[in-house]
Symmetry: D2
Subunit: 141 residues, 4 copies
């Protein structure tokens, strides 16, 4: 496994009970760019019979956390903006694609786009992390 | 029950599987101002052993949906901004307090503050809804 | 002058060419809560004959800067969210009222509401600053 | 001139006093993608001797307005998020590059990146517009 994969798969996702409950699986793990997928289940829907806004947010927030921490420095989310474009339904498979907009000094910014299985854009997420400076891996790991 | 309570308790929360999974309970239902509470469970935490960002977002998004729809007009979330201030842990009881900032025409804006059981601010959520014009209740209901 | 007034009036506004071009005047300077006013001029309008979005943003951003720096620690804006509610016209007098939502550790959050002279809400601004730790005033000043 | 150029150059920028005060010039006008430039002047700086946050916001907001209206439908900004990454100084030449993230139905979303003359990212702007349905040009124009 690459250092990015050790951090994302083992240290983060392996210990992340909520991302596991969501059924999140990585489909790409690179430095600063992580792609995730999951399926919407009935128990994730709201009173409009569409996925609760928290579902698209949660996979996007996981993608942000994994992408920003993949650089090996512990990073915490401080600000996020989320736009809801198109509803998701039970049975839909969500793909979250993160992209690094800026990485320098104390902060980094990412955009995460959420698509359904037909490639239609469902939500747009923009997030800022604070880079604590604390490394994930010991030297030689 | 007041019209606000019919909309929030019966029509919305009563059919909202994900808010039920979260364990969300209303503690105040007024026009444009809803307060909710829930307890953080282990299965809601991430790899840092704190509540996943999606948990605070989800209760805030439910509070936004309930507060904005309480006016009797179906309203959908279009944009949200969330700041993460202080971590939440398994066992913490979260209180979400929504406040209406603006209501007029096609849009309405709300701020939702998320507190832990000690009254410490954990997250700040700011959301905009689009008011579809479609009523929740038939005349005389 | 209070320490807040020395920082806001002398050190900040006194050297802030753009806030002066806008015609910004403080109407309240307290720790963490600053209110400003200015008049919209023809040269501040756009092709729709309403104030350019940058005008409401700019007075809000000045209010954020003044409110957050009033604590005596140099603070820089990192993230802002702005909602546009109601147009402003040439001749309108804008009032910007800031309120501190959170102040602790490295970050602070503020909401700034922009009103016209009739007290109608025109824009809502939500901003996050990073507190650098560097003091504005020397001891004994 | 293309229809996009008639809308952006004549109808919008030609009547936009504040964008003219800023010295904004289009360097690219395509459907949904507009690039603008301007130079920071001393009168645009704040008490830290860097460009006031309202300057980067204003060119980004103009880019958003031009890009979204270039489709021929009058569109108004409802929500914006702006991150400040790197200061701008008097004499710097700013380039604003807009990109359409989503266009469908009543809303459209754009990201605008602000660079200095060395190609360094200075600010990131994310904006949502409401499409009023009202056309800019009469048939045959």
């Amino acid at each position: 496994m690459t250092p990015e994969e050790i951090i994302v798969r083992e240290k983060m996702l392996g210990n992340d009970a909520f991302s596991q409950w969501l059924g999140i699986e990585p489909i790409l793990i690179e430095r600063g760019a992580v792609q995730l997928k999951m399926m919407v289940r009935e128990e994730m829907t709201n009173g409009f019979k569409i996925a609760h806004g928290g579902i698209a947010f949660s996979i996007a927030d996981s993608a942000l956390a994994f992408a920003s921490n993949s650089h090996g420095i512990q990073s915490v989310t401080i600000e996020t903006t989320t736009s809801f474009v198109k509803p998701l339904y039970a049975g839909d498979v969500i793909i979250a694609k993160s992209r690094e907009i800026q990485l320098s000094g104390k902060f980094a910014r990412y955009i995460v786009e959420i698509f359904n299985q037909s490639g239609e854009l469902s939500a747009v997420f923009y997030g800022t992390v604070f880079r604590t400076g604390k490394p994930w891996l010991k030297e030689g790991q």
